[in-house]
């Protein structure tokens, strides 16, 4: 193991890790937004909206995220969408992870006991009131953990944007493997940084989950 080399390149990996973090945060925000819209569509009483929601989930979960990124980044200009690699990365990954999160959210909402909604309706609440005041608060508690799993996957899938040359952790590791021929050392640095990011996010999820359960 070449520790001197590892020490020398470490600052560059640290900078790249920051890009990975920014990318993950932006993607998570976009993903959650897409998932809320997706869930609303899938649970809507309009058939058209339900169909759109189901198609969104099926298509984006049924094709590789890498190809979705390529369509957006390389194919986008042909249909008038000009994005730089970072923007394409955030939008492509965000919409992709949103499809997975849609299933998580929908799963949590439909697993809240049906009687709860019916009881709320009997008490004179409108459908929307029952959803907001009775079902959603319970569903929120159920979805924190599985959404945490989605987040974990998301952080690892930000590596895909290396393929459209966003200079994040995996791209940096790849570049240094190419120039130093030390694959194991570079893997170790990048891998440890990923694991630190994932660990911290995991702690935050556990904390949020415990807090939600106490209420």
């Amino acid at each position: 193991m070449d520790y001197a080399l590892m020490q020398r390149v470490f600052p560059f990996f640290l900078e790249a890790a920051w890009i990975t973090i920014v990318l993950s945060v932006l993607t998570a925000i976009l993903g959650l937004t897409c998932a809320m819209l997706g869930t609303a569509a899938r649970l809507s009483r309009f058939r058209m909206l339900r169909f759109i929601g189901a198609t969104y989930v099926s298509v984006f979960r049924g094709t590789p995220a890498l190809i979705q990124l390529f369509i957006l980044y390389f194919g986008g200009p042909q249909i008038g969408i000009q994005l730089d690699a970072f923007e394409a990365g955030v939008i492509g990954l965000g919409v992709n992870v949103g499809a997975y999160m849609t299933e998580t959210m929908r799963g949590a909402i439909i697993s809240v006991d049906k009687g709860q909604g019916e009881a709320a309706r009997t008490l004179g609440m409108s459908k929307w009131q029952a959803m907001r005041n009775v079902i959603l608060p319970q569903a929120m508690r159920l979805m924190i953990r599985p959404l945490g799993v989605n987040l974990n996957t998301l952080i690892k899938s930000t590596a895909l944007v290396a393929a459209i040359s966003v200079v994040e952790l995996t791209y940096t590791a790849q570049r240094y493997i190419g120039s130093t021929y030390k694959p194991f050392e570079m893997f170790l640095i990048a891998g440890l940084l990923y694991m630190i990011i994932i660990y911290v996010v995991g702690l935050a999820v556990t904390w949020a989950d415990r807090k939600a359960r106490l209420n």
Partner: protein
């Protein structure tokens, strides 16, 4: 530059050949990940600590890092230690190991869930510990996790697109070749997405049938 899907037929055979390679890689890696997953699970649960801990560390590292990074490690790492394997083999090993670790997590839970009395009964009948594991525990454990393992294999199909980055000429890379000579990325990537989608639907249909059969056999 608008869209022109009429360029596709000329390159369709290249793309479809790529699709065959994608299926081959998915199958190869699925087999590696299935048996590798069982092996890793048994090691993680029953092996001597000297063996167990390095394997646990390896699993931990593979669970916490992106597949793309692991592919770079395996591809360039093998070359560095003097093993020059074809990209296809590196891709199968990389994908297979990555998903073996995920499958191993599932197998571990289901192995532990097999009733302890089963092992005791097998031991009483004169089977050795290894035999009891192999003939009694593992078969039951495997049946219980077929659905989530199947989901992992569907995920594997989609992640097989990543091996294009280390130069395996599967579906994604063959599309890139066609794009190289036509400059029509949108058309070809949409075509490729459609092909992945179809294979994906096929796998989902098979998985649902298998799930029903397991349900029926219980």
């Amino acid at each position: 530059m608008g869209l022109d899907f009429s360029v596709i037929p000329k390159y369709l055979d290249i793309v479809l050949l790529g699709a065959l390679w994608t299926i081959a890689i998915t199958l190869g890696a699925a087999i590696v990940s299935f048996f590798g997953g069982i092996l890793l699970a048994v090691i993680a649960l029953y092996a001597h600590p000297v063996v167990r801990w390095p394997f646990r560390a390896f699993s931990f590292l593979f669970l916490g890092t992106p597949l793309l990074l692991q592919l770079f490690l395996i591809y360039f790492g093998l070359v560095q230690i003097g093993i020059d394997v074809p990209a296809f083999v590196a891709g199968v090993i990389g994908l297979g190991l990555h998903f073996a670790v995920y499958n191993s997590e599932l197998f571990q839970t289901s192995i532990l869930a097999v009733d302890k009395g089963q092992i005791e009964a097998a031991r009483t009948l004169g089977l050795s510990r290894m035999q009891a594991l192999r003939k009694v525990v593992v078969p039951q454990a495997v049946r219980d996790v077929i659905p989530p393992i199947g989901n992992n294999m569907i995920a594997l199909l989609k992640d097989s697109a990543l091996v294009s980055v280390i130069g395996v000429s599967e579906l994604t890379l063959s599309a890139q070749r066609a794009i190289g000579s036509t400059y029509r990325p949108f058309e070809f990537y949409v075509l490729v997405a459609a092909i992945y989608y179809i294979i994906n639907l096929g796998m989902e249909a098979v998985l649902r049938r298998v799930e029903r059969r397991i349900q029926a056999s219980k």
